[in-house]
């Protein structure tokens, strides 16, 4: 069982498979030089995602990591990413993008500064401490170091979790086109009014569309005659207004009641998340932190949240504090095993939605298989946000859903395309146009809506169909 829609980060995907596709069908006209300084987990994930359609150089000083990159279509350079000589060999003068993602903040900053002096790439600088994040607020400070974007994985993860919590009852959430289009994932319960009925008979509100259904291990894009069942996870795309109506039909409850959020672990992620949620209307936040000194720091910085000093895997504490009555449990300890334990305890006590942090990639699928609704990693979140910002070409991968089973593409309709309505089209099986973006307009299409040249399409499809979909829509 999987759950999360996740921005494409390559984490849950099968790398060689993707690589082979892009070799067979060289669609992308957008082909640039990208330099990645640092060959750790993040560097690898980035290289994996970007190598398909770009010229990628990876610089790392450790020979041991070189082997991993053998499998990828990238150029690995052994050396330090802060030396101008090394960056020169990676062709910095012609590079479009430099991503510094070593484990050392200072090295990353210097790499960006040196790279910026030698060429004019867009620079992404990964940091691991809060103090550097404040650069973000001061543009001049960033420019002095030649940094375009600061990326702090923990902060990114906190932001992602906040977005998911922000939609009550949904187990996952994603936004596209600057918020004009949202994607929500619901688990269908007994109270839902849409189960056991044909989708064609549902009459969902205008501007909303069920784009995918997960049933057990199978994942499919429903057609008009598909019938939804209890226990299915339905992925709905639409405009924010329409989706609030959809929520009512799916969950069967009208009002939004106060949500109780429990955060286990007050580390970087837990603290930032608590800070963002603290005082938000309709939210009641409890943070459980094991380290007393850290707990005192949290309590001093948070205005409304309740900070408990104790272990999140301590069943007695969880019971005494009635954690089972929480609507959301977020377990963001720095340790996968304890996260899993805390999450399972939470589920056992009856928590509705569980969001868990995963550090090791290998654990990602395991977590969702044992009943965690959403498993996220800080690295994954950061990588996804970088990939999201490196956009270009006629086709962009916006997100992957259900560990890569489904993908959300954004396609530019080429100028020569002859306009036609959806009814007249015969798109590949297992694909659906979720939205048409025309100027500042976002249309969730029905049969009569037309696709015109210059539109951007948000298309939902499965992993296997991705290439056919690309071909179908981008060929004039």
């Amino acid at each position: 069982m999987t759950g999360a829609t996740r921005r494409s980060n390559g984490c849950g995907e099968n790398s060689h498979h993707d690589a082979s596709i892009s070799k067979q069908v060289p669609l992308e006209s957008w082909f640039v030089r990208i330099i990645i300084v640092g060959g750790g987990e993040i560097g690898f994930a980035l290289a994996q995602a970007l190598s398909q359609s770009n010229e990628v150089f990876v610089i790392d000083h450790a020979p041991s990591v070189a082997d991993r990159f053998e499998a990828l279509d990238v150029q690995f350079l052994l050396g330090t990413g802060t030396s101008s000589d090394m960056l020169g060999r990676a062709g910095i003068d012609g590079a479009e993008i430099l991503i510094a993602c070593t484990g050392l903040d200072e090295v990353n900053i210097v790499a960006c500064a040196v790279g910026n002096r030698l060429g004019s790439p867009r620079t992404f600088c990964f940091v691991s401490r809060e103090e550097f994040l404040h650069f973000e607020e001061d543009r001049r400070g960033l420019e002095q170091f030649g940094i375009d974007r600061i990326v702090w994985p923990e902060a990114q993860l906190a932001e992602d979790i906040e977005r998911i919590i922000g939609v009550p009852d949904a187990i996952d959430s994603e936004v596209f086109a600057d918020g004009a289009i949202r994607l929500l994932e619901y688990r269908l319960d007994r109270g839902s009014s849409i189960v056991d009925r044909r989708i064609a008979d549902l009459h969902l509100p205008h501007g909303s569309l069920i784009v995918a259904v997960r049933r057990g291990e199978s994942f499919f894009i429903p057609r008009g005659d598909s019938v939804l069942a209890i226990g299915d996870k339905a992925i709905v795309m639409g405009t924010p207004d329409a989706l609030s109506d959809v929520r009512r039909e799916i969950t069967g409850s009208a009002e939004i009641r106060k949500q109780r959020v429990t955060i286990i672990g007050g580390g970087d992620v837990g603290f930032r998340l608590a800070e963002r949620l603290d005082g938000a209307e309709g939210l009641e936040v409890t943070v459980i932190e094991r380290n007393l000194a850290r707990g005192e720091m949290l309590a001093s910085r948070l205005r409304h949240a309740l900070v408990l000093s104790g272990d999140g895997t301590d069943l007695e504490l969880l019971e005494a504090e009635d954690i089972g009555r929480s609507d959301v449990l977020v377990s963001v300890i720095d340790n996968d095993e304890r996260n899993l334990l805390a999450s399972l305890l939470g589920r056992q006590l009856g928590v509705q939605r569980i969001i868990t942090r995963v550090s090791r990639r290998a654990n990602l699928r395991l977590f969702e298989r044992v009943g965690i609704d959403v498993a996220l990693s800080a690295r994954g979140a950061a990588v996804a946000s970088v990939l999201h910002q490196i956009t270009g070409g006629a086709t962009r991968l916006l997100a992957v859903v259900e560990q890569g089973a489904g993908r959300i593409l954004e396609l530019d309709v080429p100028p020569g395309y002859s306009a036609r309505s959806l009814r007249e089209m015969d798109p590949p099986r297992n694909s659906i146009i979720g939205a048409i973006l025309r100027g500042s307009q976002a249309i969730v299409p029905r049969g009569n809506d037309r696709v015109q040249p210059g539109d951007r399409l948000i298309v939902f499809t499965t992993h296997a169909e991705a290439d056919r979909v690309r071909n179908y829509f981008t060929r004039a």
Binding site: E289, L292, G295, E296, L298, A299, S300, R303, L306, V307, L308, S309, G310, L317, A320, E321
Partner: protein, 489 residues
């Protein structure tokens, strides 16, 4: 504790104190009260002599040793110098014919800006005499040692311990990195506000002498008035409102006022204590006005006297715009509760201070919350910042001892013959540096009729209350004296 250091530094402060006696000499002389002027002259010389002697007595090493004053020595100097100054300041009253105990009471009442008096017949004394009463309150209001720190560069180093021991409230604000500048800035503001008020009162119709005396005792939250009927004797709504406004200012944190004047306009509004102080003032005024209306007062009079009496008690000034002892029990109850509040920390007001009540309330809520969530981390916060545990402990202990000292004082005064309400209010009025209480120590009565021992006890209460209990009580601990020796060596 090195006694030589304590005596030496106390000597310096006492020597400074003698200079302040020149002012009443001049005032008495200008009104051709030659006998009184001579009295002040004698006092000035005596004070100077005592100061010099104490200064010398410390020995040659004391000056250097004073550079590294310890905390307990700082407390000793502050407590000791206030006691010695009160005694020396009593000489003019003796000169004017008061008894020893009465003179001490009046002098301590002045220096601690309490405003409780033993004077029965106001007409028997000269202008210089009343000016000296007002001046002692003004000096004591913001802290006489802070004044000396501001004036005397040498005290700056040793002054650190003294400044914080004398300052009111659980935490003292330093406006500038340099202590001396902080003291100077605070005294400048204090002086300017006093001058403005004196002008305002003069314009409103008081004589120049009365205007100055009332300005001195309003800004210091003191409450001595040269008029036997206090402010009620002037029968002027304008004067009442002017004094009400300046009492409110005197009860607010001066450091914050400096900030506000210097440009951060919202400094006062953002301060939680100030907001609570203003809220207490407004709510009490509303409650009091309600009771006064019910008792048959006209609306404008009810608001005017309600606001005046609320502020006079809450800021521990102790004036009266009307004989509030004649009011109903309900109205008096409002005032009685206010006696336990006090103004803001870092103001001229006495009492436990609003901030301590705020912290106590939060502390209590915290403990209630802890019974629901035994494992919760619940810091006590003020203005978004966590209050460190040592300060919180000090506040709890302060409140405990404050009530204990109050109860003990009330018990003694009642035991020695006063009636219950007189005893209770006399005790809190002196400990809180308010001045008048109810019944036989009401605003139009005085303390002269009390038992001599009661007067001595109440004199001590004023001293303990002004130095915020712990400063004095620590010196009653055996440990403070066990390691006491004379010299630094």
């Amino acid at each position: 504790m090195r006694l030589a250091v304590v005596v030496h530094v106390t000597g310096i402060l006492v020597r400074m104190f003698s200079a302040t006696l020149l002012a009443p000499v001049a005032v008495a002389a200008s009104y051709r009260e030659w006998y009184d002027a001579a009295g002040f002259g004698v006092t000035a010389i005596a004070t100077l002599a005592v100061g010099m002697l104490m200064h010398r007595a410390g020995g040659p090493g004391a000056a250097d040793a004073a550079e590294q004053m310890r905390r307990v020595e700082g407390l000793g100097v502050v407590a000791g110098s206030w006691l010695v100054m009160a005694q020396l300041g009593a000489i003019p009253y003796l000169w004017a014919g008061l008894g020893v105990i009465d003179a001490m009471f009046e002098s301590m009442s002045g220096l601690t800006s309490t405003g409780a008096t033993i004077l029965v017949d106001f007409s028997a004394y000269g202008r210089g005499f009343f000016f000296w009463r007002a001046l002692t309150e003004w000096l004591g209001g913001l802290g006489v040692i802070a004044l000396f720190i501001a004036v005397l560069p040498r005290l700056a180093i040793a002054g650190r311990q003294l400044f914080f021991a004398e300052a009111s409230g659980p935490t003292a604000d330093k406006l500038t990195p340099q202590l001396r500048k902080t003291a100077l800035v605070l005294w400048q503001l204090y002086f300017i506000l006093t001058a403005i008020q004196a002008v305002a009162l003069y314009v409103a119709g008081m004589s120049l002498f009365d205007a100055v005396c009332h300005a001195l005792t309003t800004m210091s939250a003191g409450g001595f008035s040269p008029h036997p009927e206090s402010i009620a004797g002037y029968q002027s709504a304008t004067i009442d409102w002017i004094i009400t406004a300046f009492m409110f200012v005197a009860g607010a944190n001066f450091a914050l006022q400096v900030r506000a004047v210097r440009g951060s306009r919202s400094a006062l509004v953002q301060d939680e204590e100030f907001r609570a102080y203003a809220a207490v003032g407004v709510m009490a005024t509303v409650a009091l006005t309600f009771f006064l209306l019910r008792d048959g007062m006209v609306f404008f009079d009810a608001v005017r006297h309600g606001a005046f009496q609320v502020l006079t008690i809450v800021t521990t000034t102790g004036y009266a715009s009307v004989d509030f002892d004649l009011w109903s029990s309900q109205a008096k109850m409002v005032l009685f509760l206010l006696m336990f509040v006090g103004g803001c920390a870092g103001s001229a007001a006495g009492g436990p201070k609003v901030v301590r009540h705020l912290l106590m309330a939060r502390y209590t809520i915290r403990e209630l919350k802890r019974t629901l969530h035994p494992r919760a981390v619940l810091p006590v916060k003020l203005g978004g910042r966590v209050v460190p545990d040592p300060i919180m402990r000090d506040v709890v202990v302060f409140m405990l001892f404050y009530l204990l000292v109050f109860a003990a004082g009330a018990a003694i005064v009642v035991a020695l013959g006063a009636d219950l309400l007189t005893g209770i209010t006399a005790s809190i009025a002196c400990l809180g540096n308010i001045g008048p209480g109810f019944e036989n120590v009401g605003p139009m009565a005085n303390f002269a009729h009390l038992h001599p021992i009661s007067k001595i006890v109440l004199t001590l209460l004023m001293w303990i209350g002004r130095l915020e209990v712990l400063t004095v009580l620590v010196l009653f601990r055996f440990e403070a004296w066990r390691n006491a020796r004379w010299s630094a060596a």
